[in-house]
Symmetry: C2
Subunit: 130 residues, 2 copies
């Protein structure tokens, strides 16, 4: 028997966050805030490297903020920081960077290797790897 939906779950999942770890079910649907603490949207899902188990991208969904409500924005995980105070993630990117960021919509197939490089190139341009 699989617990079916997320609807009533997120309040009850506070206990799923302990110490340094967080449940996948708590990440999904969790609010994302900008640097100015404005609520931008939510994390729809995230992409995991199957071999290493490393989370590579959080897929952000903005509630029509930029007039493109149903698009998905994959953002490198290291630009997101969980805030227990806010009960959500803070994204440390300028809004202008997000507005121009690579995205896909429901009709598209998600993140293929070419798109993965495009994402890495885009964010690397603004925030080069150290």
């Amino acid at each position: 028997m699989v617990k079916s939906e997320y609807s009533d779950t997120h309040d009850g999942l506070e206990t799923r966050e302990t110490g340094d770890m967080i449940s996948s079910r708590k990440v999904e649907g969790t609010a994302v805030y900008g640097r100015d603490e404005e609520r931008l949207g939510t994390i729809e899902s995230f992409m995991v490297n199957k071999l290493s188990g490393q989370v590579e991208y959080a897929v952000l969904q903005f509630g029509g903020l930029f007039g493109i409500g149903s698009d998905y924005y994959p953002v490198p995980w290291n630009h997101l920081h969980y805030s227990a105070d806010r009960g959500g993630f803070i994204v440390d990117l300028d809004r202008s960077v997000l507005e121009q960021a690579p995205r896909y919509n429901e009709a598209e197939s998600g993140i293929d290797p070419t798109f993965g490089r495009q994402i890495d190139d885009y964010y690397g341009m603004y925030y080069p790897p150290i």
Copy 2:
């Protein structure tokens, strides 16, 4: 071949798996098979290290196989391997190890640091880190 009741749900998400990456939403609910290819259950969720973004544990749910249908078994991620052929994960642990493994139920609070050490000690006993 065991027919998975999740196959319908997950067919639509095939596009979420590309190259080395897999969507969090595809991992959840996906079938888990034993070494003998018997279907054991599903991945209910997984635990991510908030700082590093590393997936530490997959939380397995067994469909009453061991007579304990509603318990959750956190298993270190590196014991799971995705099989595109099976459309699910293979867990490379003996059934006897899983039967005795650390678990929690819905009334409990998930994985606190003490329980995390218990999990690591248990699997480390059978499969010491290299």
